[in-house]
């Protein structure tokens, strides 16, 4: 039982990062039907900022806000430089555009910074544990989960209570109708990228605390897990993205923990089989938004 709870908390910690990334992808998908592949670049760019600041002698208390700001600015900058020009194109054109951005950004770091991973110190408390009801839990996991919950609550507040959030939801439901009401495409899309950048920034903070590495493709792995989470949850649903993220984290950690060691290498294979089964049974993901067929 103790082991199970440890695993569960670990899974929630992993899942937090996926959930935040999935949510940030879903926010953008909602307004412009773009699966933003370049989202991992926010973490990549942040990783070099973290490396730079850390080499310059700054601690995490500076690095954390720096990552958040970097992520928001980078997200909006990429929108301004690339996605603005393919707005309204078909989904694959947008997808491949973001794919191109991903490779250009990582190539730039590879060329002008370093092809090799650059390490910076992780926070000192990262491996500390705390005993709760006799169970050893990692402080890092608990902080991740708490910070994620707080971030999600703030996001819910923004979406429900602010004019921007209401507009964003309206535009996700029916972009043309929102324009008819006087919503400006530019401001709602930029706002979506800013919000999305902030969410990715929070995820980036925890990802980078854990890895402590800056490299040209630092954002790739978390991005891919985020993508898996968002499709598992259902591309068009914000709550689905969060659920998908946590589910992915927990399933992944549980598989690692409980598979017999001879076949533990099959974890990702089993994950994919589960995913494929999910799509055969529920192609629209865990939380489905009904798509009416229009004739």
């Amino acid at each position: 039982m103790n082991v199970f709870i440890q695993q569960l908390v670990d899974g929630l910690g992993q899942g937090s990062i996926y959930a935040l990334l999935a949510l940030s992808l879903a926010v953008i998908f909602g307004v412009m039907h773009l699966v933003n592949f370049a989202h991992g670049e926010l973490i990549t760019i942040s990783s070099y900022v973290a490396y730079g600041l850390s080499t310059a002698g700054y601690g995490w208390e500076i690095i954390v806000p720096a990552i958040l700001v970097t992520s928001i600015i980078a997200s909006m900058a990429i929108e301004f430089l690339a996605f603005r020009w393919v707005r309204g194109s078909d989904e694959f054109t947008m997808l491949l555009t973001s794919f191109g951005v991903h490779f250009v950004v990582s190539a730039l770091f590879l060329m002008f910074v370093s092809p090799k991973p650059l390490n910076f110190p992780k926070p000192s408390w990262i491996f500390n544990t705390i005993k709760v009801f006799g169970i050893n839990l990692e402080i890092f996991d608990i902080i991740t989960v708490v910070a994620t919950v707080v971030t999600l609550l703030i996001t819910v507040w923004i979406l429900q209570k602010t004019m921007f959030g209401i507009t964003l939801r309206a535009a996700s439901l029916d972009f043309d109708a929102a324009r008819l009401m006087g919503v400006k495409s530019n401001s709602v899309i930029r706002g979506a990228f800013a919000l999305s950048g902030a969410l990715a920034g929070v995820a980036g903070v925890f990802w980078l605390m854990r890895t402590g590495t800056a490299k040209p493709d630092a954002g790739l792995t978390p991005l891919l897990f985020g993508v898996i989470a968002v499709i598992a949850g259902g591309l068009e649903s914000l709550s689905g993205a969060v659920i998908g993220g946590f589910a992915l984290g927990i399933v992944q950690v549980m598989l690692r923990g409980y598979l017999p060691s001879e076949i533990s290498g099959l974890t990702e294979g089993i994950l994919f089989v589960l995913l494929a089964m999910l799509f055969i049974v529920r192609p629209q993901g865990l939380v489905s938004v009904s798509r009416a067929e229009r004739v």
């Binding site: 507009t167 939801r169 309206a170 109708a177 929102a178 009401m181 400006k184």
Partner: protein, 235 residues
């Protein structure tokens, strides 16, 4: 007030307009009638700036507004109540109104919303209900309420009675008449031609993208063979 000249549109398979011209004077109720596929919706969507015309000009208050976005049109005082209402079904009634008030000053928004709720008491009772759960009549009131949030001087309405029960249709027409008394100019696309003719000052008949006829409502109403004119079964 509004002047549309030689409007022609081309959008793949969507019914286009061919050289359509109409005029709306301040204080009028102008109707646009015609069978499906005549281009009525295209006309309104092009005026508001959701669609771009291939040629032709649109002017409002003597200024050229042909290439403006809906947002700019709203700021100048033109709003559209779209066909099929296009409510944000997963937003509440209040949120729908708030979005429609985005071009208002933030300080005026709630005041304006209060006025709309006075105009449509039922919306006041359903403030926190999701728009998707409203009945047909309530939904239409919300759609019109959204159109009024920006306090437009010219309101474009696209099939405001589509799918409504007869008693509700009367309510909508009464409302249109009342809006005019309050000083709003209206351009109404409607399939319910007879009722529209009762309240409209002038009517344009559209068929396959052309304005085939323009007359005062009285002149239209006087025609014996209105049905055949409408359907194109007699020339």
């Amino acid at each position: 007030m509004l002047k549309v000249e030689g409007l022609t549109t081309r959008y793949g398979s969507i019914t286009g307009l061919r050289d359509a011209s109409i005029v709306v004077q301040a204080g009028e109720i102008v109707g646009v009638i015609g069978p499906n596929g005549a281009g009525k919706t295209t006309l309104l969507n092009t005026i508001i700036g959701l669609l771009k015309p291939a040629s032709g000009t649109i002017s409002f208050d003597d200024a050229d507004v042909t290439a403006l976005t809906p947002e700019a049109m709203l700021r100048r005082g033109v709003a559209l109540v779209p066909e099929q209402r296009r409510l944000f079904t997963e937003l509440t009634v209040e949120e729908n109104l708030l979005v429609a008030g985005i071009t208002c000053k933030a300080s005026d928004r709630h005041e304006r919303m209060r006025e709309i709720k006075e105009l449509f008491p039922v919306l006041g009772e359903r403030t926190t209900m999701l728009a998707g759960y409203l009945s047909g009549g309530e939904a239409q009131q919300l759609a019109i309420g959204r159109g009024l949030m920006s306090s437009p001087r010219l309101l474009l309405m696209d099939e405001p009675t589509l799918g409504l029960a007869p008693n509700l249709i009367s309510t909508v027409f009464d409302l249109i008449a009342r809006l005019r008394e309050d000083g709003t100019t209206l351009l109404v696309v409607e399939q319910n031609a007879r009722r529209l003719l009762e309240i409209a000052d002038r009517v344009y008949l559209l068929r396959t993208g052309n304005v085939v006829s323009e007359a005062t409502a009285d002149a239209f109403r006087g025609r014996e063979n209105l049905f055949d004119v409408y359907m194109g079964t007699s020339e």
